[in-house]
């Protein structure tokens, strides 16, 4: 199975856009798009949990080459909290109700768009990892918090250079 490279990320963004899928990258894959240097193996996508979005998501995944069986399509449409797919062009986790985030709309308002890809804010990524209670997330938090601090210094640099 291929990794998740730039062309694929662009294709996902374009296909989700075409089908009107409301999504945000989250987890380590989201942090990586924000600039965080690390490795991961799957793409974590926070998807708005509505019947319309579930339908759009199934159509988009089929177009991207995920060979979803009818039962699997129905489960995604029905609105689970978490779906893991390992048969597509890349590994993907669909998260409909991430820990630590109350509402998709709020997270979307705090999110960024980077080269066409919608990504959760670093605060939301950290918040969801804090709330998950998993050992691996707990271990990754100090470096992610340091990255958030570094990002905030970049914002200050940008502001000071633009005011010169």
């Amino acid at each position: 199975m291929a990794g998740f490279e730039y062309e694929q990320a662009q294709r996902v963004a374009e296909t989700f856009e075409k089908h009107g899928v409301r999504y945000l990258l989250i987890g380590k894959s989201g942090a990586i798009v924000l600039g965080y240097p690390d490795t991961t193996q799957d793409v974590d996508v926070y998807v708005e949990k509505t019947p319309e979005n579930g339908e759009a998501l199934v159509e988009a995944l089929l177009e991207l080459g995920f060979p979803l069986q009818q039962r699997e399509q129905d489960e995604i449409r029905r609105g689970k909290d978490f779906v893991q797919i390992r048969t597509g062009p890349f590994d993907i986790d669909l998260v409909f109700a991430p820990d630590g985030i109350e509402a998709f709309e709020d997270a979307f308002g705090r999110a960024s768009e980077i080269e066409g890809i919608h990504v959760c804010s670093i605060d939301d990524i950290i918040r969801s990892k804090e709330a998950s209670g998993r050992q691996k997330d707990r271990e990754s938090l100090p470096r992610l918090r340091a990255f958030r601090e570094w990002l905030s210094t970049q914002g200050r640099k940008d502001r000071s250079s633009s005011s010169e």
């Binding site: 490279e5 390992r86 048969t87 991430p98 990255f147």
Partner: protein, 76 residues
């Protein structure tokens, strides 16, 4: 000996090293960052099914608690 669940204490040198790695990553394009970030590794049990779905995150967390402990997916 430090327990596995204790958050690590971060030294100044390590912190500076992280900041340097963030600076270096910022000099790479998104295409380069993605190319080196996604590394496929087999995770026992977790990767043995092609499709899994969970009605609630609690159900998913309970499943993660059954995975081999060293994968780190279990709750602290």
């Amino acid at each position: 000996m430090q327990e596995a669940t204790t958050p690590p204490v971060i030294g100044v040198a390590e912190y500076e090293e992280w900041f340097e790695s963030f600076e270096a990553a910022a000099r790479r394009s998104l295409a380069q960052r993605l190319k080196f970030a996604f590394v496929r590794t087999y995770k026992p049990v977790m990767d043995d099914a092609t499709f899994r779905s969970f009605d609630t995150m609690d159900d998913y967390r309970r499943f993660c608690d059954t995975l081999p402990e060293w994968l780190g997916y279990g709750r602290v």
